[in-house]
């Protein structure tokens, strides 16, 4: 109980340079969120969480997310037990409008095609020596869906949750940087200028029935997707039924906000340099980037493949929106399309593969979970 004790109890005494690296990463996240507007709702909580998580805690004191009985460990429970992601899906469901998808179901297949990124990365991760479980969790980064990635790694490979979550969210934030080059590489100027026909009107009945039937199809094929898609379609039913507007409103506002704050912060706080900065994490980041590239390529090329058979051609840029990363990749498609032809409005059409991509990666996650979970 003297000055030495006080010093030893301070954070400065135990700060390592790797912590400083991670704190810098957190600051960069926040900087990108503010100045570039890259997914600020995710990057700011995660970024500040990274800073908090890299203050060296006092040995044995309940401070960090990994310390028993600490407050942060209780908040982190929602990540570890997979509770936050389905609640986020509930809110996303309550804000998603499936009408464009309902009016042009062909585009759904683009959301399926982009999931090739998940499985190719799975094989790549196996090759590099990751266990099948770990490989599955890494592969889902290519699903481009943060909550799905967190959910699957909490179930299959909790030891990799930190790097997988950070990789998934980083690349989701970097969609406007990663996707355009690939889109230009695999499409001709003429293809990028293809206009899409205005979609047909969708009746309220179709919109109300859709979440119920789509849930039944997905859950019967892959029950492992029940948790995430159950919540997604439940949220959507709350919205489309029109009679539960107040519940839908709370789901897409207070509830999703509270969960987003807690999820982002505690995922960030789980990245203590001492356990985070490993060769494995770097590999995961490389695999994640590859995964995004493959997924985008898969979507674009599949659109071109479909065009071989279709009379009414699809703008192959829409394939890039199949990765999900809602709604950023749809925005990117819209922006690239507009650059070729200022009268070509793809946003509305891009939402169809985009939300299909969300469903597709949830199915992929369900399949990987049930097959690799060892039940």
């Amino acid at each position: 109980m003297n000055l030495f004790t006080f010093y030893n109890n301070s954070g400065i005494a135990h700060l390592e340079w790797t912590n400083l690296v991670m704190i810098a990463v957190g600051v960069i996240f926040i900087y990108l969120a503010i100045t570039k507007d890259y997914e600020p709702l995710l990057l700011i909580p995660i970024g500040f969480g990274v800073i908090v998580g890299n203050i060296p805690p006092i040995e044995g004191m309940p401070l960090s997310v990994y310390a028993e009985n600490s407050v942060f460990s209780y908040l982190y429970l929602g990540v570890m037990k997979g509770i936050y992601p389905p609640l986020i899906f509930l809110g996303i469901g309550a804000m998603t409008d499936f009408s464009t998808m309902l009016s042009n179901p062909k585009l759904i297949l683009l959301g399926a095609a982009a999931q090739i990124g998940v499985f190719l990365t799975f094989i790549g991760s196996l090759y590099l020596g990751f266990s099948p479980q770990q490989a599955g969790a890494i592969g889902i980064i290519g699903g481009a869906d943060g909550p799905t990635a967190i959910f699957l790694s909490s179930m299959l490979a909790p030891e990799l949750l930190g790097p997988i979550a950070i990789a998934a969210y980083s690349y989701m934030a970097l969609v406007p940087v990663i996707q355009p080059p690939i889109m230009y590489l695999f499409t001709t100027k003429k293809e990028r200028q293809i206009h899409m026909k205005p979609p047909r009107r969708v009746s309220k009945k179709e919109k109300v029935i859709f979440p119920i039937v789509a849930f039944l199809i997905c859950a019967l094929i892959a029950p492992g997707s029940m948790t995430l898609l159950g919540m997604l379609f439940f949220g959507n039913l709350l919205k489309e039924s029109m009679v539960t507007e107040r519940l839908a409103n709370t789901a897409r506002n207070s509830l999703i906000d509270i969960v987003t704050i807690l999820l982002g912060f505690s995922v960030g706080a789980s990245t203590q340099a001492q356990t985070f900065l490993t060769a494995q994490s770097i590999l995961i980041f490389i695999l994640g980037a590859a995964s995004f590239v493959v997924a985008t390529t898969g979507g674009v090329l599949f659109a071109k493949l479909m065009n071989l058979f279709l009379k009414e051609k699809i703008n192959p840029l829409l394939g890039a929106a199949g990765v999900s990363a809602v709604p950023d990749s749809a925005r990117v498609v819209h922006a690239v399309g507009l650059k070729e032809d200022p009268t070509n409005f793809l946003l509305m059409h891009a939402m169809a593969p985009n939300v299909a991509g969300v469903i597709g990666s949830a199915i992929a996650a369900g399949v990987l979970w049930s097959a690799l979970g060892g039940f």
């Binding site: 297949l109 090759y127 179709e206 399949v367």
Partner: protein, 126 residues
């Protein structure tokens, strides 16, 4: 995980075939979304069968009747309020599709109409 263990033998080995597994996984994803797509294509036709025009009209009539009743109810309420409490503030509106709290609010509003003087100061009782 150790980096000494890189190679194709990690992908296919006795009891586990990563390639076949991936193919099947991809197949399920495609299959699921394909069925959804087919369902979406078919549904409008099914709905067209299930809801022929006469039936539609009946439904509409019922709805109209219900709405009409509600409108009459609202008018009657408004008249009632106007006649019985002429000094009241007639700012009541009858929400046809109110949320959970509306009946409470309506009840409260109806109640407040019976009160001649403002009751929101702490020290005035009865």
């Amino acid at each position: 995980m150790s980096f000494t263990n890189i190679g194709f033998h990690n992908i296919v080995y006795p009891g586990f075939n990563g390639l076949q597994f991936s193919l099947m996984g991809m197949g399920l994803v495609f299959g699921g979304l394909l069925i959804i797509a087919v369902y979406i294509l078919i549904l409008p036709r099914l709905l067209a069968i299930g809801a022929p025009k006469p039936q539609k009209n009946t439904g509409k009539d019922e709805k109209d009747a219900a709405e009409e009743e509600e409108i009459l109810l609202a008018i009657a309420t408004a008249l009632h309020l106007h006649n019985d409490f002429p000094e009241g503030e007639d700012r009541i509106t009858w929400k046809s599709h109110g949320d959970m709290e509306s009946p409470w609010l309506v009840s409260g509003r109806l109640h407040s109409l019976n009160i001649r003087k403002p009751a929101n100061t702490w020290n005035i009782s009865k």
